[in-house]
Amino acid sequence: MKLVTAVIKPHQLEEVKEALEAYGISGMTVSEASGYGRQRGHSEIYRGAEYTVDFVPKLRVEVLVEDMDSTSVVDVIVKAASTGRIGDGKVWVVPVEEVARVRTGERGVAAI
């Protein structure tokens, strides 16, 4: 099994979710994150003092998938998350040795 992690722009979540659902994957875990990269942050000004905020808001999406799905899922996410502008994010794949579903105790592919 694989863990596909994607860092995406917050506004693209809905499209990523729908694309994954269309592909047949209906589970994921999302958390808030701040990204640093080519995309610039912004400046804020409080009583004349300027603050540079280097980080931009991102979401971090994690999807557990079967081995054979991993490449396609990366494709699906890349497509759905893309706006064509700098800062669209990254997707990466990590090997997973074991998965368990808490409720049932199932292991392996059945637990996804």
């Binding site: 506004h11 610039r40 804020e44 000004i45 003092a49 603050y51 540079t52 280097d54």
Partner: protein, 443 residues
């Protein structure tokens, strides 16, 4: 003019003026809480901006345009008569000018606050997307060409007053501003929403309130401040003020219940946003009627106002105008209802109290005149600004958040200052304007 000051009345109007001034910060909370966290500051700034602009122009020409003894066709007062409050504060002997026990300068203070809140009310229709500079200019123009004339027509002895053409049918009743404030602002809101256009994603993506405790606090402060608005409009510390006070409370309580009942039966849940909205709907509806109905009459008046507005806020989705915070559904609808309801519930002349149709007819007429007048004036100003200054911020700014793009601020930072948001360095700002869009490429 008698020169003896009634200190009790003066104390009450000083206090009422203070209360009405507080309504605008209260409104900023009410509106700000309903906005999203990325645009709450801009939302509040539109109210505060109205305080700033109207606060200055009122003493220059606002008072004179509203209450000059030299009426121009019954539509507006001559701005020059009392320009800069000339001949308004003291007489030639240096004594304070007093009218019905009240120093006129106190009345000026009371009146300026009405103009401020009326302008601020409109901003609810254009959340998240308006240039701040254009809004400030609009505030000044709209106050000048829509508000001051309406105040003159209704309260300054103009066309919609007893002395106007409808006076022969029946004396029009607008105790504290159903036409001048709520219909006026409500129509302007509709026009602005149409001229400026809907937000990107309106009706499709969720745009839910970001801070409901702020909304409820705002509603509480509005209720509190509205005692100055309504009971202060008795222009005396007397029984009429007391009646207006009790009616204000009763109608508001009933309207809250009315809104919650509609929600309970339609949606299955009574919400806190509904309670806050019902409070405002009730306050709006009782405004023209505060001195003219009985407390028992205030109950159905409020109940129906709450229910009507609860139903009306859905219209924008049907008709597709992005009146973001429902100024139309709340202020226009309940403002019309309160004005017209007097035709039935006015304790002396209403249909239910043995009157004939004349009061009802007059109430409908003044509401219609207000509708048309405000609609036309607002449309002209709004279009003028559209082609000159422009109304909309860039789409990028709208998406990233107008607080960041326009005000270069973010409303909240709960990470404790030692976390992400403060990882940047501080430096004193240099004159060159900084780039604040978040979509640009680095190097």
């Amino acid at each position: 003019m008698e020169n003896a000051i009634d200190t009790g009345t003066t104390a009450w109007i000083l206090m009422s003026a203070s209360l009405v001034l507080l309504m605008t910060p209260g409104l900023a909370l009410f509106y700000g809480g309903m906005a999203r966290s990325k645009s709450v500051l801009n939302m509040m700034m539109m109210s505060y901006g109205a305080l700033g602009v109207v606060g200055v122009i009122y003493v220059l020409w606002g008072w004179s345009m509203s209450y000059s003894s030299e009426s121009i066709l019954g539509i507006v007062g001559n701005p020059l008569t009392y320009f800069g409050l000339a001949d308004t504060i003291t007489d030639s002997a240096g004594n304070y000018i007093v009218s019905d026990g009240l120093p006129t300068i106190v009345d000026v203070g009371f009146q300026v606050t009405f103009a401020m809140i009326t302008v601020a009310l409109i901003s609810g229709a254009i959340a998240d997307r308006a240039r701040f500079g254009t809004w400030l200019v609009f505030a000044g123009l709209w106050a000048t060409f829509a508000y001051f004339p309406m105040a003159h027509m209704v309260w300054g002895g103009g066309l919609l007053s007893d002395e106007g053409p409808f006076g022969s049918i029946a004396a029009p009743i607008d105790f504290a501003g159903g036409t001048v404030v709520h219909i006026n602002a409500g129509v302007a809101a509709l026009v602005l929403a149409l001229v400026i256009g809907a937000r990107k994603g309106f009706g499709k993506i969720g745009m839910k309130p970001h801070n409901l405790p702020l909304v409820m606090t705002g509603a509480g402060l509005l209720w509190f401040g509205w005692f100055g608005f309504n009971a202060g409009s008795a222009y005396a510390a007397d029984g009429v003020a007391g009646l207006a006070w009790v009616n204000t409370t009763t109608a508001t309580a009933a309207a809250m219940l009315g809104w919650l009942l509609v929600e309970r039966f339609r949606d299955g849940h009574a919400t806190s946003l509904g309670a806050a909205s019902g409070i405002v709907a009730g306050l709006v509806a009782i405004t023209p009627a505060a001195g003219g109905v009985s407390p028992v009459g205030a109950i159905p008046l409020g109940l129906i106002a709450g229910a009507l507005s609860a139903l009306a806020v859905g219209l924008k989705y049907r008709f597709g105008y992005d009146d973001s915070l429902d100024v139309v559904g709340v202020h226009l609808v309940s403002g019309l209802w309160g004005t017209v309801a007097l035709g039935f519930l006015a304790t002396e002349t209403g249909l239910f109290y043995g009157g004939d149709f004349s009061q009802l007819a007059v109430q409908i007429l003044i509401a219609l005149v207000a509708l048309v007048f405000s609609g036309v004036v607002t449309l002209v100003i709004a279009l003028l600004l559209k082609v000159t200054m422009g109304w909309r911020v860039d789409e990028d700014v709208e998406v990233a958040g107008i607080d960041q793009g326009v005000h270069a601020e973010s409303a909240y930072d709960f990470t404790g200052g030692g976390r992400l948001a403060a990882s940047g360095t501080t430096r004193e700002s240099v004159p060159a304007p900084s780039t604040t869009t978040s979509e640009e490429a680095r190097a």
